[in-house]
Amino acid sequence: MNERIQDLLTKYYEAETSPGEEQELKVLLRASTEFEEEKVLFGILADFRKLEPIKISLPEAKVRKLNPSWISWAASAAILIGSFWGWQVYEQKQAEQAAYKEVMMAFALIQNNLSKGQAALQPMNNLKYLNTTDLIFGQSQK
Protein backbone atom coordinates (compact mmCIF):
# COMPACT_ATOMS: atom_id res chain seq x y z
CA MET A 1 0.00 0.00 0.00
CA ASN A 2 2.82 2.38 0.91
CA GLU A 3 4.42 1.84 -2.49
CA ARG A 4 1.16 2.77 -4.20
CA ILE A 5 0.89 5.84 -1.97
CA GLN A 6 4.46 6.83 -2.81
CA ASP A 7 3.78 6.46 -6.55
CA LEU A 8 0.63 8.53 -6.29
CA LEU A 9 2.38 11.18 -4.21
CA THR A 10 5.15 11.48 -6.78
CA LYS A 11 2.56 11.97 -9.49
CA TYR A 12 0.61 14.35 -7.24
CA TYR A 13 3.59 16.66 -6.65
CA GLU A 14 4.32 16.62 -10.38
CA ALA A 15 0.67 17.65 -10.97
CA GLU A 16 0.08 14.59 -13.08
CA THR A 17 -2.63 12.88 -11.03
CA SER A 18 -6.21 12.65 -12.19
CA PRO A 19 -9.05 13.54 -9.78
CA GLY A 20 -9.70 9.80 -9.42
CA GLU A 21 -6.08 9.09 -8.43
CA GLU A 22 -6.14 11.95 -5.94
CA GLN A 23 -9.26 10.49 -4.38
CA GLU A 24 -7.56 7.10 -4.18
CA LEU A 25 -4.51 8.74 -2.58
CA LYS A 26 -6.63 10.33 0.13
CA VAL A 27 -8.36 7.04 0.92
CA LEU A 28 -5.02 5.16 1.10
CA LEU A 29 -3.49 7.86 3.32
CA ARG A 30 -6.31 7.50 5.83
CA ALA A 31 -5.49 3.82 6.18
CA SER A 32 -1.73 4.35 6.36
CA THR A 33 0.28 4.99 9.51
CA GLU A 34 2.96 6.91 7.62
CA PHE A 35 3.03 10.07 5.47
CA GLU A 36 2.07 12.28 8.38
CA GLU A 37 2.76 15.54 6.52
CA GLU A 38 0.51 14.67 3.61
CA LYS A 39 -2.23 13.56 5.98
CA VAL A 40 -2.07 16.91 7.72
CA LEU A 41 -2.08 18.74 4.40
CA PHE A 42 -5.19 16.97 3.12
CA GLY A 43 -6.78 17.34 6.56
CA ILE A 44 -6.39 21.09 6.73
CA LEU A 45 -7.52 21.42 3.11
CA ALA A 46 -10.67 19.45 3.97
CA ASP A 47 -11.25 21.73 6.97
CA PHE A 48 -10.85 24.81 4.81
CA ARG A 49 -13.45 23.38 2.43
CA LYS A 50 -15.96 23.49 5.29
CA LEU A 51 -15.60 27.25 5.66
CA GLU A 52 -18.90 28.78 4.53
CA PRO A 53 -20.23 32.34 4.53
CA ILE A 54 -22.68 33.04 7.34
CA LYS A 55 -24.06 36.51 6.71
CA ILE A 56 -24.39 36.47 2.94
CA SER A 57 -27.99 37.06 1.92
CA LEU A 58 -29.80 36.49 -1.32
CA PRO A 59 -30.20 39.89 -3.03
CA GLU A 60 -33.77 40.97 -3.53
CA ALA A 61 -35.28 42.86 -6.39
CA LYS A 62 -35.31 46.50 -5.42
CA VAL A 63 -38.78 47.96 -4.99
CA ARG A 64 -38.90 51.68 -5.63
CA LYS A 65 -40.02 53.42 -2.50
CA LEU A 66 -42.30 56.36 -3.21
CA ASN A 67 -41.83 59.58 -1.31
CA PRO A 68 -44.97 60.09 0.84
CA SER A 69 -44.94 63.90 0.40
CA TRP A 70 -44.61 63.46 -3.35
CA ILE A 71 -47.54 61.01 -3.29
CA SER A 72 -49.83 63.53 -1.49
CA TRP A 73 -48.98 66.24 -4.01
CA ALA A 74 -49.57 63.84 -6.88
CA ALA A 75 -52.90 62.74 -5.37
CA SER A 76 -54.02 66.36 -4.93
CA ALA A 77 -53.06 67.20 -8.50
CA ALA A 78 -54.87 64.09 -9.77
CA ILE A 79 -58.05 65.06 -7.87
CA LEU A 80 -57.93 68.64 -9.22
CA ILE A 81 -57.33 67.51 -12.78
CA GLY A 82 -60.04 64.85 -12.47
CA SER A 83 -62.56 67.34 -11.06
CA PHE A 84 -61.80 69.88 -13.78
CA TRP A 85 -62.10 67.22 -16.49
CA GLY A 86 -65.38 65.94 -15.00
CA TRP A 87 -66.78 69.47 -14.90
CA GLN A 88 -65.76 70.04 -18.49
CA VAL A 89 -67.52 66.85 -19.58
CA TYR A 90 -70.65 67.81 -17.63
CA GLU A 91 -70.70 71.28 -19.19
CA GLN A 92 -70.31 69.85 -22.65
CA LYS A 93 -73.18 67.39 -22.09
CA GLN A 94 -75.42 70.19 -20.82
CA ALA A 95 -74.61 72.37 -23.84
CA GLU A 96 -75.32 69.48 -26.17
CA GLN A 97 -78.70 68.84 -24.52
CA ALA A 98 -79.64 72.54 -24.71
CA ALA A 99 -78.69 72.67 -28.39
CA TYR A 100 -80.74 69.54 -29.06
CA LYS A 101 -83.78 71.06 -27.37
CA GLU A 102 -83.45 74.27 -29.37
CA VAL A 103 -83.19 72.36 -32.64
CA MET A 104 -86.23 70.25 -31.76
CA MET A 105 -88.21 73.39 -30.89
CA ALA A 106 -87.20 74.95 -34.20
CA PHE A 107 -88.35 71.81 -36.04
CA ALA A 108 -91.69 71.90 -34.16
CA LEU A 109 -92.19 75.56 -35.09
CA ILE A 110 -91.43 74.84 -38.74
CA GLN A 111 -93.82 71.88 -38.68
CA ASN A 112 -96.55 74.03 -37.15
CA ASN A 113 -96.14 76.83 -39.68
CA LEU A 114 -96.05 74.33 -42.51
CA SER A 115 -99.37 72.88 -41.38
CA LYS A 116 -100.89 76.36 -41.24
CA GLY A 117 -99.65 77.12 -44.75
CA GLN A 118 -101.09 73.92 -46.07
CA ALA A 119 -104.49 74.74 -44.54
CA ALA A 120 -104.40 78.24 -46.08
CA LEU A 121 -103.72 76.79 -49.48
CA GLN A 122 -106.67 74.39 -49.30
CA PRO A 123 -109.17 76.80 -51.23
CA MET A 124 -106.71 76.87 -54.09
CA ASN A 125 -107.64 73.30 -54.75
CA ASN A 126 -110.98 74.46 -56.19
CA LEU A 127 -109.22 76.33 -58.97
CA LYS A 128 -108.75 73.09 -60.77
CA TYR A 129 -112.51 73.14 -61.65
CA LEU A 130 -112.38 76.53 -63.48
CA ASN A 131 -112.17 75.12 -66.97
CA THR A 132 -114.23 72.09 -66.47
CA THR A 133 -117.81 73.52 -66.69
CA ASP A 134 -118.36 71.62 -69.94
CA LEU A 135 -117.46 68.51 -68.33
CA ILE A 136 -119.97 69.16 -65.58
CA PHE A 137 -122.88 70.79 -67.45
CA GLY A 138 -122.18 71.20 -71.20
CA GLN A 139 -122.89 67.79 -72.64
CA SER A 140 -126.40 67.41 -71.37
CA GLN A 141 -127.61 70.96 -72.67
CA LYS A 142 -126.57 70.26 -76.25
Partner: protein, 163 residues
Protein backbone atom coordinates in the same frame (compact mmCIF):
# COMPACT_ATOMS: atom_id res chain seq x y z
CA UNK B 1 -39.26 29.08 -10.54
CA UNK B 2 -35.62 30.00 -9.63
CA UNK B 3 -34.08 33.09 -11.16
CA UNK B 4 -30.81 32.84 -13.10
CA UNK B 5 -29.01 34.26 -10.09
CA UNK B 6 -30.42 31.64 -7.73
CA UNK B 7 -29.74 28.79 -10.13
CA UNK B 8 -26.23 29.66 -11.35
CA UNK B 9 -24.60 32.31 -9.17
CA UNK B 10 -25.89 31.74 -5.65
CA UNK B 11 -24.64 28.09 -5.52
CA UNK B 12 -21.08 29.37 -6.07
CA UNK B 13 -21.09 31.43 -2.86
CA UNK B 14 -19.00 28.96 -0.83
CA UNK B 15 -16.22 28.75 -3.40
CA UNK B 16 -16.20 32.52 -4.01
CA UNK B 17 -16.22 33.21 -0.27
CA UNK B 18 -13.20 30.97 0.34
CA UNK B 19 -11.36 32.63 -2.55
CA UNK B 20 -12.11 36.08 -1.14
CA UNK B 21 -11.13 34.92 2.34
CA UNK B 22 -7.76 33.66 1.08
CA UNK B 23 -7.17 37.13 -0.43
CA UNK B 24 -8.33 39.34 2.43
CA UNK B 25 -7.79 36.97 5.41
CA UNK B 26 -10.85 38.39 7.12
CA UNK B 27 -14.20 36.62 7.26
CA UNK B 28 -16.38 39.71 7.64
CA UNK B 29 -14.58 41.56 4.87
CA UNK B 30 -14.74 38.51 2.60
CA UNK B 31 -18.49 38.39 3.15
CA UNK B 32 -18.86 42.11 2.50
CA UNK B 33 -17.03 42.04 -0.83
CA UNK B 34 -18.90 38.90 -1.88
CA UNK B 35 -22.22 40.50 -0.97
CA UNK B 36 -21.30 43.52 -3.12
CA UNK B 37 -20.46 41.26 -6.05
CA UNK B 38 -23.74 39.41 -5.58
CA UNK B 39 -25.71 42.65 -5.52
CA UNK B 40 -24.08 43.73 -8.78
CA UNK B 41 -24.47 40.37 -10.47
CA UNK B 42 -28.10 40.17 -9.31
CA UNK B 43 -28.80 43.51 -10.98
CA UNK B 44 -27.06 42.30 -14.18
CA UNK B 45 -28.33 38.71 -14.18
CA UNK B 46 -30.18 39.11 -17.48
CA UNK B 47 -26.96 40.20 -19.17
CA UNK B 48 -24.91 37.52 -17.37
CA UNK B 49 -27.24 34.74 -18.48
CA UNK B 50 -25.67 35.07 -21.93
CA UNK B 51 -22.09 35.39 -20.65
CA UNK B 52 -19.68 32.84 -22.11
CA UNK B 53 -17.64 32.51 -18.91
CA UNK B 54 -19.81 33.25 -15.89
CA UNK B 55 -17.41 31.73 -13.34
CA UNK B 56 -14.51 33.70 -14.76
CA UNK B 57 -16.55 36.88 -14.61
CA UNK B 58 -17.48 36.25 -10.98
CA UNK B 59 -13.87 35.57 -9.92
CA UNK B 60 -12.68 38.69 -11.73
CA UNK B 61 -15.45 40.81 -10.24
CA UNK B 62 -14.60 39.52 -6.79
CA UNK B 63 -10.94 40.34 -7.28
CA UNK B 64 -11.81 43.84 -8.53
CA UNK B 65 -14.09 44.35 -5.53
CA UNK B 66 -11.27 43.39 -3.17
CA UNK B 67 -8.84 45.73 -4.95
CA UNK B 68 -11.39 48.55 -4.85
CA UNK B 69 -11.85 48.01 -1.13
CA UNK B 70 -8.11 48.12 -0.46
CA UNK B 71 -7.62 51.16 -2.67
CA UNK B 72 -10.46 53.03 -1.01
CA UNK B 73 -8.93 52.28 2.35
CA UNK B 74 -5.49 53.23 1.03
CA UNK B 75 -3.92 50.16 2.61
CA UNK B 76 -2.33 48.64 -0.50
CA UNK B 77 -2.06 49.37 -4.19
CA UNK B 78 -2.46 45.88 -5.57
CA UNK B 79 -3.67 42.45 -4.54
CA UNK B 80 -0.12 41.10 -4.70
CA UNK B 81 0.73 43.27 -1.72
CA UNK B 82 -2.11 41.80 0.30
CA UNK B 83 0.24 39.26 1.87
CA UNK B 84 2.16 41.98 3.67
CA UNK B 85 -1.01 43.76 4.75
CA UNK B 86 -2.67 40.61 5.98
CA UNK B 87 0.42 39.39 7.78
CA UNK B 88 0.32 42.54 9.89
CA UNK B 89 -3.35 42.14 10.68
CA UNK B 90 -4.26 40.18 13.80
CA UNK B 91 -5.97 36.88 13.00
CA UNK B 92 -9.62 36.66 14.03
CA UNK B 93 -10.05 34.81 17.29
CA UNK B 94 -12.57 32.32 15.97
CA UNK B 95 -10.39 31.15 13.13
CA UNK B 96 -9.52 27.55 13.72
CA UNK B 97 -6.10 25.98 13.65
CA UNK B 98 -6.52 24.30 10.28
CA UNK B 99 -7.42 27.54 8.57
CA UNK B 100 -4.47 29.28 10.18
CA UNK B 101 -2.20 26.56 8.87
CA UNK B 102 -3.58 26.67 5.35
CA UNK B 103 -3.34 30.45 5.34
CA UNK B 104 0.30 30.24 6.34
CA UNK B 105 0.93 27.92 3.41
CA UNK B 106 -1.12 29.90 0.90
CA UNK B 107 0.58 33.14 1.89
CA UNK B 108 3.87 31.70 0.75
CA UNK B 109 2.59 31.16 -2.80
CA UNK B 110 2.42 33.74 -5.57
CA UNK B 111 -1.11 34.91 -6.29
CA UNK B 112 -1.65 32.82 -9.44
CA UNK B 113 -0.30 29.64 -7.84
CA UNK B 114 -2.40 30.26 -4.74
CA UNK B 115 -5.62 30.62 -6.73
CA UNK B 116 -4.92 27.53 -8.82
CA UNK B 117 -3.91 25.45 -5.79
CA UNK B 118 -7.03 26.48 -3.92
CA UNK B 119 -9.40 25.85 -6.81
CA UNK B 120 -7.90 22.41 -7.29
CA UNK B 121 -7.31 21.24 -3.72
CA UNK B 122 -10.16 22.92 -1.91
CA UNK B 123 -12.84 23.29 -4.56
CA UNK B 124 -11.95 20.12 -6.47
CA UNK B 125 -12.09 21.70 -9.92
CA UNK B 126 -10.41 19.95 -12.85
CA UNK B 127 -7.78 21.64 -15.02
CA UNK B 128 -10.28 22.82 -17.63
CA UNK B 129 -12.55 24.34 -15.00
CA UNK B 130 -9.64 26.14 -13.35
CA UNK B 131 -8.53 27.49 -16.74
CA UNK B 132 -12.07 28.77 -17.30
CA UNK B 133 -12.37 30.29 -13.83
CA UNK B 134 -9.09 32.18 -14.10
CA UNK B 135 -9.27 32.74 -17.86
CA UNK B 136 -5.83 31.22 -18.47
CA UNK B 137 -4.49 28.37 -20.61
CA UNK B 138 -4.49 24.71 -19.60
CA UNK B 139 -0.69 24.64 -19.67
CA UNK B 140 -0.51 27.58 -17.28
CA UNK B 141 -2.79 25.71 -14.91
CA UNK B 142 -0.63 22.57 -14.97
CA UNK B 143 2.69 24.40 -14.61
CA UNK B 144 1.46 26.61 -11.77
CA UNK B 145 -0.19 23.71 -9.95
CA UNK B 146 3.02 21.70 -10.20
CA UNK B 147 5.03 24.62 -8.76
CA UNK B 148 2.45 25.28 -6.06
CA UNK B 149 2.41 21.65 -4.87
CA UNK B 150 6.18 21.51 -4.91
CA UNK B 151 6.40 24.68 -2.86
CA UNK B 152 3.74 23.45 -0.43
CA UNK B 153 5.71 20.23 0.08
CA UNK B 154 8.86 22.22 0.89
CA UNK B 155 6.92 24.38 3.31
CA UNK B 156 5.36 21.36 4.98
CA UNK B 157 8.83 19.99 5.61
CA UNK B 158 10.52 23.23 6.65
CA UNK B 159 7.69 24.61 8.76
CA UNK B 160 6.97 21.16 10.22
CA UNK B 161 3.24 21.79 10.19
CA UNK B 162 2.57 18.18 10.89
CA UNK B 163 3.86 18.46 14.45
Amino acid sequence: MKSFFEAHIWPQRGKLYRLAFSWVKDRALAEDVLQNVFEKSFARQKELSNHANLSGWLVLSLKNEVLTHFRQNKKIDALEDANQFCADEPQPEDINESIQKIMLLLNELPERQRDIFQLREVEGLDYEEIATHLDISLDQVKVNLHRARKRIRELMITQKLAK
